[in-house]
Subunit: 209 residues, 6 copies
């Protein structure tokens, strides 16, 4: 029976340099369009495939009464190249995840407890798809479309969201418009918002220009 | 300002036939390598994007003391073409999700409550990646590799799993080997299992041959 | 030499049913996640691969002083499955293409004449990438990110834009927020805009709620 | 143990409509950019996954002393959606597979017997990569590049080629230029070939114009 | 309101290392199958996303009376990983872009001024798709197929072409056959061209062998 | 005519740094999710595109009477990024390639001589697709599914298999279960195999635990 071992050992030896069952990110290595370069397989351990950060409740003592805790490839290097990631979403009563998009991923949201009112808007006809979700419901937000989540309930709610990309991106409307140096007149011309409105939100969110 | 409306209405009219923000599956339509044909957009509603089946606890009063409730495109047509799906995994104390693979997807598991001992095996070096996960932990199982989950705890555990495919497939080792008409001698020759073992499990799982 | 003909005719005959050099859309056929079903190859002509609609100047006598003329798969069926499309962008002096995203495509803009001030905003750091482009310049807008174009010049400008998708989608911020029945309080909660601002723009753009 | 059966039967029943382990082509069904629509799974048999046509020697009694026998999705419907195909290449002594490209696939050639001189030309620097292959050798021809095979030996040679597409396409230079109605002056202007040369080959290959 | 800032700053900080809204090519870095490694995001500026080289008329005072000015990833590093590129095509009267293919991309051509006669040839049936295009017309050339452009008009013409790849490749028939050291007898055997024809063109184009 | 040369030389010079007709693996370079970094094009030769290892008969004097000789990217660097690979399969009489999967590729098997009984099992209904193949037959094994090959004949058989990935992976059931330190009780719980059976095979295959 040693022959069996010999045979397969041979195969495995000859291929050992190229194992790509996975490609755990070397976060200090180069980035490429397909993701980070891989950590050496001999140094990969179970720790690379487990992430514990989603077990910690996010701090919702802020104005939006919400917290998003990502488990993207930057936090969880084992996801590199594997086409999936997750995040934890804590919403205190009245909490809001503001209008945003993920430029490169579809989102699937699962309500662990509480109630969450969620919606997305189609690009073709600006149709609003809106529903109040209860514990155990899942809702899908197709790639790249505007969406949001709100807790109108009286108790905290918790959702776990997944994305079909290890690095889905997150573009929050208010931050894109009001938290940078995009000149106010450009914001106004391209959004039809009033000058006072723009300047008010720039003030709040730290924008200039 | 009617001009604005006119302008964009024009655009939207000319493109309205081809909206592919999403392609909700017409489960009675044709299937193709990229998924099902799309339901007419005018008939799409919020119900197509929400699935409530994962809120129902699976029945674990069976031998494996476990239940898997899928939310794949067949159950949740809104996922068609969107590259993601989910399932609910209930594990009673002693419950086991047997050794299996998903031929076409990576899995990301989130522990909602309880403890789950999970593992996968690399193909390159047969390395075992094994960990007992607690509430809030997530673990990734790279595409196509053998993996399993067990509840060694004294209380029920619940996990929500996501896949980067609307139709990840599920190939359970025991069912592939013992629950069909694959002749026993072929099973034995290709797995090195003893004849008595094979026949015993064929008996249990309903296989013939 | 007939033998040569015979040989290759044989090959071509045996494969003639499956030519997929292209898959011209049958716009009345089924849609799938990969696009429309194909028109029969025997009915495909050069007309399927040429589109003349971009040669016609768009009507910019509207409030935004701009017009977008798409050549997506709905207008130009030959693009189906080929991963590319185009549009014509006419901007009168003062014209604006408002803040928008393409959920499923990168855009490459070419200025044919005039000057266009264009910008996009990164999702990672909300960085503004802004430039006034002159005749002959090209600028790339990465997939899914907010962007806009404005003509601050005194003469009309014309741009031709291309997308790496036959159906890139177009989600205009103002239409997504104000031209549908998304309730005003949800708009306000998710954008931090003031109630008066929201209602003003809903009035202009025809939204309700 | 019936419970086990019950559990998994439930899963299988609920998903049975959407199995996409494979999508055997319904050659009379619609075509899409991702391939043919699928044959009903209940009608799929082992015959769909086996093709015997490559076991038959091609007829090389023609001018090029060569024969190509394809096993593309049109001949072998089980390949639909699976990203692979094959062909048999018989080359009598002096046989030639003329200069050609596969628009949508890389080719990997295996020499079963005889000697084959094969080459491809890079697009970046027009570098010729040329080698005479012997029994057992394999050579890769990167996607879309010009390549050819010749048997300079004294005995017949046989190669099996594989492609990473179920429908790789085959564009033979001489047929593209001389076997259709592309006007001679266009051929000449775009290839710099002499008029006499073009007309000679049009005569041989059945072209007009 | 500082809390809002705090919340999102936290998110952005934790993810700042992995922003892949874009991956501007580091042309001196490593190349991979997915493209070049990325320039550090902190060094990315608007200059990386704008290319001015297409604004310069190509020099058509050559035998083919044509000039192609590429804006591929090598010239325009911002395109890396974004799946799109462009080129400028100047055709003096009588100018010709000779028969060629792009091994890895579909092309979409827009006529900015003048008239261009363009054609491509299908691989399945060698069908010629030919049209004289006028200002404003667009034509698509499916991936990998032979095509060409000619200016039969009396005035210069200009086209802007786009590709669905940042690096589409360009294989010019005459250069592949006659501008390298591919031995003349191999050219002749694989193209059926006469020896005199081959040697004449090798002489013109600098080929040897 | 020098002008022609000048023109195209210009193009080629400007693009010469980015040729990606191919990306021959630098096996000592970084690995990424899309494969290895590329060898410098100036050092690429025909040797990179030819592999001779499949011409050598594998040593089948072992217990399984079979040998698999891979030509994956680790052995044949020219395949990097090209989406294809191959292997040689020698089966002495009674030889068996045990039950296994390829996590990331479809397999297409060609019988060069002898008879091979091959089968795969669907995941959706555990259907067995089984056939004895003769010389010249090809059979496809869809991605990720269990399959095996056996020589029940009296003479050696030889197959050449191809994969639609340069690095398909190979997960052999017995090695995954019995040739590592996966604890016996976990094997038993997840496979329903008896303790004696597990320990027997662990003994044979070198497993511990």
């Amino acid at each position: 029976m040693l022959h069996v071992l010999f045979l397969f050992s041979l195969i495995l030896t000859s291929t050992h340099v190229l194992a790509q069952d996975f490609c755990v990110a070397n976060l200090k290595g180069v980035q490429t369009p397909s993701g980070y370069s891989c950590k050496m397989e001999s140094k990969v351990t179970i720790k690379d495939f487990v992430f514990t950060g989603l077990g910690v409740e996010g701090n919702t003592t802020n104005i939006i009464k919400a917290a998003v805790t990502p488990a993207f490839v930057g936090q969880f290097p084992g996801l590199n190249g594997l086409g999936i990631s997750a995040a934890r979403l804590d919403l205190a009563p009245g909490g809001v995840v503001p209008m945003h998009t993920h430029p490169a991923a579809t989102e699937l949201l699962y309500v662990e407890h509480g109630h969450i009112t969620a919606g997305f808007i189609s690009s073709s006809a600006n149709t609003v798809f809106l529903q109040t979700l209860k514990k155990g419901d899942i809702m899908v937000f197709p790639q790249g479309l505007f969406h949001f989540q709100i807790n109108f309930g009286k108790r905290p709610s918790l959702a776990i969201v997944n994305f079909n990309s290890p690095n889905p991106g997150l573009q929050i409307l208010d931050f894109a418009l009001f938290a940078n140096d995009l000149p106010s007149d450009l914001v106004e011309k391209t959004t039809f918002l009033d000058d006072a409105q723009v300047k008010k939100l720039k003030g709040v969110l730290g924008g200039s220009g």
